[in-house]
Symmetry: C2
Subunit: 378 residues, 2 copies
């Protein structure tokens, strides 16, 4: 028995649904939270104290830091000056250096390459006049992606023909970018892993992700039919990345499965949409494990029972009674104003077998307007 | 797909840990909450909007009602005038009539008797001069219990000898009371059941409860070695009570197991300490099901996996890292100031078998000062 007070506190940069779920998990553990977000109606601010301010407002960041004894973030596009200012005041997790790498697609790729982790062919495009040479080297079709600040498919443009280069440059934001060869992948997988300050690592089973218009729509956990070899490969590469980044907290690694091997597509140094199912289906959720890591508490088990899925609710209201009337369905709703293309909530579906899971997914899909292509992609 | 907004809201009378866990469950579902509690540092007020005011402050109750579209409570000692005032403004669940019955030990007993549900021998004691006759009729040893406002063993006194009657009268609060024959029970069980407005009922497996100094210290779910017959009896009597009370929400029924049958000891028309393990170990927690019932949403499944236990943390801080380092342990901490005899948090222990559960309980017990008598009661 120790007598130490159980009142640690964590500040969250960003007040979206990831912050909200972090805060709810923190509340269960008795961990106080506060968030910083420019929107006075922020999802997270509805369930915890909020500093209303822009992410580049150093005074607001300072106020957040003063409310808590350490800081994390729910998105990676944190302005460097803000991250540095926070780190001067309080311990920040994941470390700012890991944030800096994952904010930049080029540094991310180089990190993977340095660890022998395969990535798609790419070329740096700093100026529009670099594009022709990049197309030459990388080949087409390709995708031009802003080096920084892209998410949910924004800041990206497909390039099918050299003639499309100028339009792609503008569509990708008109700034430093990477041209990446488009991969004929069989599916997208993600693997979420978490590391504590002492170096302990825990890994969730890799999941299969299916998108609609650039937004994650469905995650299947574990990824159906994933062989033990690929699963081990996914977990091993996530662990290598965690160590190389000296990471503390959750890291999401998005991969393409191509001809029975994995190419890393993107890293997110935070809790991740493809891990929401862990709230119900894992021994410890990604949110709790992120907090445990940041607080220096032992990581919790990542074992899952049965099969699970996460269905995003995008752009329109759902009838909670209809969703909750379905077997094995758990509704999460974020308290956000309804706007087209906005992630408003999700449904976790749990089942004891894959066939049962699919029958339950299909029932939910009908209620939350998931298109048939997402359910049967090919 | 419906277009209705998903923003129902629930007011909670009382701002303790039960309210806090209700609010956290509500937040996950996108349900807004507010609570009313006189303590500005209330546990629940740390995670949701709070009206600071006394429970008999009708203006404060009015303000709570204005913040939400329906109201529930986390304790049953709600002043009648407050309950009536709230019910004039907003739907209240459970219904005020059910509250009125369960606030009064005598009406509770009579309800049970009217349903053919066994209770211990008892006699009403309105004035001190009634006690001698009551002792005559009920027999000794007995317990004198205040008719109203008792909880966690307060407002109770043992009576072993007729000469102790006067002291017991004072100890039980010096007001209308019930003298109840003390039962040589083999253990205390509780069964939590929930009913929705349409009459659907779901029941959690009965649990065994062990106390220390009048406070619940350990719940074992399901109650070890409970035969199918007694389990069915427990569920059936809970269902009869729910129907008779026209209840909406969770009802906790505390029973004594005596010679292979059940005597009902006490009802609580609310979520209950002996059901906290449902957060981790049940398909749907008691908190979510209470809300679903109150909102007219379908009840969630009450099936549990494996075995679970709830260990209360009472009166002193615990080391979260130590607790979280144990396998199968989930810490809940309520953000309350530390005071002797105060419920400050709990640990849910989950396991795949009873032997595994016991080895895990013993490990937690050592960290949170559970006395050996609670672990091995006889």
């Amino acid at each position: 028995m120790t007598a130490g007070p159980v009142t640690p506190s964590v500040g969250i940069l960003g007040g979206g649904q990831l912050g909200r779920m972090l805060a709810l998990s923190a509340h269960s553990l008795g961990v106080r939270t506060a968030c910083l977000d420019p929107d006075p109606a922020a999802s997270c601010g509805q369930v915890t104290r909020q500093v209303v301010g822009g992410y580049d407002d150093l005074t607001a960041a300072q106020r957040l830091a003063e409310l808590v004894d350490r800081v994390t973030f729910e998105f990676e596009s944190v302005p460097a000056a803000t991250a540095a200012a926070l780190a001067r005041e309080r311990p920040v997790f994941p470390p700012v250096a890991a944030l800096a790498i994952t904010q930049d697609r080029f540094r991310e790729k180089r990190l993977c390459e340095s660890l022998g982790i395969p990535v798609a062919a790419y070329a740096v495009v700093d100026r529009p006049e670099d594009l022709a040479g990049a197309i030459e080297r990388v080949g087409l079709p390709a995708r031009l992606k802003a080096r920084r600040l892209g998410y949910d498919g924004r800041g990206q443009a497909r390039v099918l023909e050299p003639a499309e280069a100028d339009a792609a440059w503008l569509a990708a934001g008109g700034g430093p970018a990477l041209l990446e060869r488009e991969i004929a992948f069989s599916r997208e997988l993600s693997v979420l892993a978490v590391r504590d300050p002492a170096g302990a690592i825990a890994c969730y089973p890799p999941v299969e992700n299916r998108h609609e218009a650039g937004l994650l729509r469905l995650s299947l956990a574990p990824a159906p039919g994933l062989g033990a070899g690929l699963r081990a490969e996914a977990e091993a590469l996530a662990a290598r990345l965690l160590v190389a980044l000296d990471h503390v907290g959750v890291l999401a690694v998005e991969c393409f499965e191509v001809d029975g091997r994995l190419l890393v597509n993107e890293l997110a140094p935070r809790v991740h949409n493809s891990g929401h199912w862990t709230i119900e289906a894992s021994e410890t959720s990604q949110f709790e494990n992120h907090l445990r890591a940041g607080l220096g508490w032992p990581l919790g088990g990542t074992a899952m029972r049965g099969a699970a899925a996460m269905v995003n609710c995008i752009g329109q209201a759902v009838d909670p009674a209809a969703v909750l009337g379905l077997p094995g369905c758990h509704l999460h709703w974020y308290g956000k104003a309804i706007r087209p293309g906005r992630k408003l909530g999700h449904v976790t579906v749990v089942a004891s077998s894959e066939p049962e899971l699919w029958s339950r997914i299909r029932a939910v899909a009908a209620l939350v307007a998931v298109p048939v292509e997402v359910l049967s992609p090919r």
